[in-house]
């Protein structure tokens, strides 16, 4: 073992009580750092999972048509353009060609081709406006996991069954096995059997949504070919922007990431992350101040010994290294203990995706253990620089006056 390290170790172990307190202080700082990282990260995962987990991460639609010039006169200021149609739907007419490409993307977890439109659910004299989504029967739960949120019936869709929200069912006074009528905005009216009731916790879905099979939707909205949109779910929803850009470039279609319509949520998450970073910075500052003050005290107390070492031929560099190594060792030890404590404290909590409603949304995976360790070791080492330089300035001649 290098002698300088041996001396640093000896100084740390010579006063176990003081070193123990110092290491504990550092460990507590690291614990706060780890816990805050897990809490802020977990809260973000929790919020995003709850708010974005059941929606499309990237939605692919037909591109908006630019106004088309009909005629321009070289000698006139008149410009004739077509008005955007309000009677024809924007459809992905060649969607079938793109589906394999989209599905093959490594980031894509699920793809749901859909025909959507507006309409009414009618039960006797009661009518409720709904958004009707036609999906492939085996992809009912591809985007919103309706299977998990089902409160009655099943998610199996046939050409004559409909899934509606539990709130909508209460409003209409219907339950499983009863018949309702769906009237599309195209004036087409069909009877459907209520096959399942779901409760997502989002009013827009629970009160104003109805899911039917893709073929039934085609009938209701008069769409024989093509799709209204393709909803895409990603394995990592934070890749949505990049994936949307790439899909738009590859297909020439309009690809909208979830972030485009959730800027307030993102702002909130950013503000939350900033607050967390501030608290973590304070934890690091506390570590720096603690280590610096303890080592300054140690330097002052050991001035006679430093003088003796210098008299025996210890260079300034050696003395500096002894105290910097002490800071580094305190940082490493305190960091490891703090990380272990943080991990132990966080482990009993379920990850936010599985946390029950009202649970504590900490995420043991997001403890930022490596960053906490590295930053603490660096901070403690930096904190020891000033005391070590003070120690190195002790004159060897001072030993004769002791």
């Amino acid at each position: 073992m290098p002698f300088v390290l041996r001396v640093a170790f000896r100084y740390l172990t010579a006063n176990k009580g003081q070193t123990g307190l110092l290491v504990t202080g550092v460990a507590v700082g690291v614990f706060v750092f780890v816990f805050m990282s897990a809490l802020i990260g977990g809260l973000a995962v929790f919020l995003v999972t709850r708010t974005v987990g059941d929606i499309s991460h990237v939605t692919i639609e037909a591109p908006s048509r630019e106004a088309e010039a009909i005629a321009t006169g070289a000698e006139t200021d008149l410009l004739l353009v077509t008005q955007r149609s309000s009677t024809t739907r924007q459809l992905l007419r060649t969607a079938d060609a793109f589906l394999p490409t989209i599905s093959a993307s490594p980031e894509v977890k699920a793809v749901s081709p859909q025909v959507v439109g507006n309409g009414f659910v009618v039960r006797g004299q009661v009518r409720a406006a709904v958004g009707v989504t036609g999906v492939e029967p085996d992809k009912v739960s591809a985007i919103a996991d309706l299977g998990k949120r089902l409160v009655a019936g099943s998610t199996a869709l046939s050409s004559t069954t409909v899934l509606i929200g539990a709130q909508l069912a209460r409003d209409l006074g219907v339950t499983i096995g009863q018949v309702v009528r769906l009237q599309s905005d195209r004036g087409i009216d069909r009877p459907f059997l209520v096959g399942g009731l779901f409760e997502v916790g989002v009013e827009a879905l629970d009160s104003r949504a109805a899911f039917v099979s893709l073929s039934a939707a085609r009938t209701l909205f008069g769409v024989e070919q093509g799709l209204s949109r393709i909803e895409v779910k990603l394995t990592d929803l934070y890749q949505a922007d990049a994936v949307a850009r790439r899909l738009a470039a590859e297909t020439g279609l309009k690809a909208t990431p979830w972030t485009a319509n959730n800027s307030q949520l993102l702002d909130g998450l950013r503000a939350q992350a900033s607050s967390g970073n501030l608290i973590k910075a304070f934890a690091l500052i506390t570590i720096v101040i603690g280590v610096a003050s303890a080592l300054s005290l140690s330097t002052y107390r050991r001035r006679p010994e430093i003088g003796i070492m210098r008299a025996m031929g210890a260079s300034r560099r050696f003395v500096t290294a002894v105290f910097i190594l002490q800071g580094g060792l305190i940082g490493v030890l305190g960091g490891l203990i703090g990380i272990a404590l943080g991990f132990a404290a966080l482990s009993p909590f379920p990850v936010p995706e599985l946390a029950p409603a009202g649970g504590f949304p900490v995420d043991v995976r997001l403890g930022a253990y490596d960053i906490a360790f590295v930053l603490t070791a660096i901070a403690a080492t930096l904190a020891s620089i000033l005391p070590s330089l003070t120690a190195a300035r002790v004159a060897p001649a001072s030993v004769l006056t002791q």
Partner: protein, 228 residues
């Protein structure tokens, strides 16, 4: 004087400044010391003995003059070079032993060699044990410095001073803090080792018994050598 010159000091001046007031402690002191000499540095308090020791030990710098040891001009050497020189060629025995309290007797003796080598080598350990045997502390090698008596501490300090086989050992009142018996033991030890090795000793003392042991006595008064 016996042997070849070890150190040569010419016209050495040391001035301290405090609050704009200059105090000249050494006023053009001349001194020559040969290899293997056992010298006593005597004189009243405030005569400049300790200041001279710190300069000869390269612990402090003279204001002006010439100081060479082993042919090296130590007036112009940088801090790092002086530190290295001190480690290799000069040993110290202080009045209050000045051992490192958190280290054992063996580790204290080893310290200068470990500083030189960057680690504790087996050869250095053997040398340190041998020195502790020589000063009669073979049964105290693993005792912390704080667990030793005053006389034992001073004997460890002597062993430490000899660890790197220095050419010069500077001792500042080495028996000043010891009782009569311990003082006699330490003195006998210094005389014995001095006779056995070609190491020069310069011992600053007020004690006539210590001075009497030395073959040469240098009297310093008012910053000058007045009797040699």
């Amino acid at each position: 004087m016996t042997g070849t010159p070890l150190i040569e000091v010419r016209n050495l001046v040391k001035t301290f400044e405090d609050g704009g007031v200059e105090t000249r402690v050494l006023k053009g002191l001349d001194l020559t010391l040969a290899t293997g000499e056992l010298c006593a540095l005597v004189g009243p308090s405030g005569s400049g003995k300790s200041t001279l020791l710190t300069i000869l030990g390269t612990l402090a710098r003279a204001t002006s003059g010439r100081y060479t040891m082993l042919g090296e001009n130590l007036m112009t050497a940088g801090d790092a070079a002086l530190t290295e020189f001190r480690n290799a060629h000069i040993g110290f025995v202080f009045q209050f032993h000045n051992l490192l309290p958190d280290f054992t007797a063996l580790e204290n003796v080893l310290f200068p060699a470990a500083l030189r080598d960057g680690r504790q080598t087996r050869a250095a350990r053997d040398r340190a044990r041998e020195l502790l045997v020589r000063v009669g502390l073979e049964d105290r090698t693993d005792f912390r410095a704080t667990k030793l008596s005053g006389g034992q501490k001073q004997r460890v300090a002597i062993a430490r001073a000899l660890m790197n086989r220095p050419e010069l050992v500077l001792a500042d009142e080495p028996t000043g803090s010891l009782d009569k018996d311990s003082a006699e033991q330490v003195l006998a030890l210094i005389a014995e080792i001095s006779a056995a090795e070609q190491t020069s000793y310069l011992i600053s003392t007020h004690d006539d018994k210590v001075a009497a042991v030395c073959r040469r006595q240098i009297r310093v008064t008012n910053g000058l050598v007045v009797e040699d």
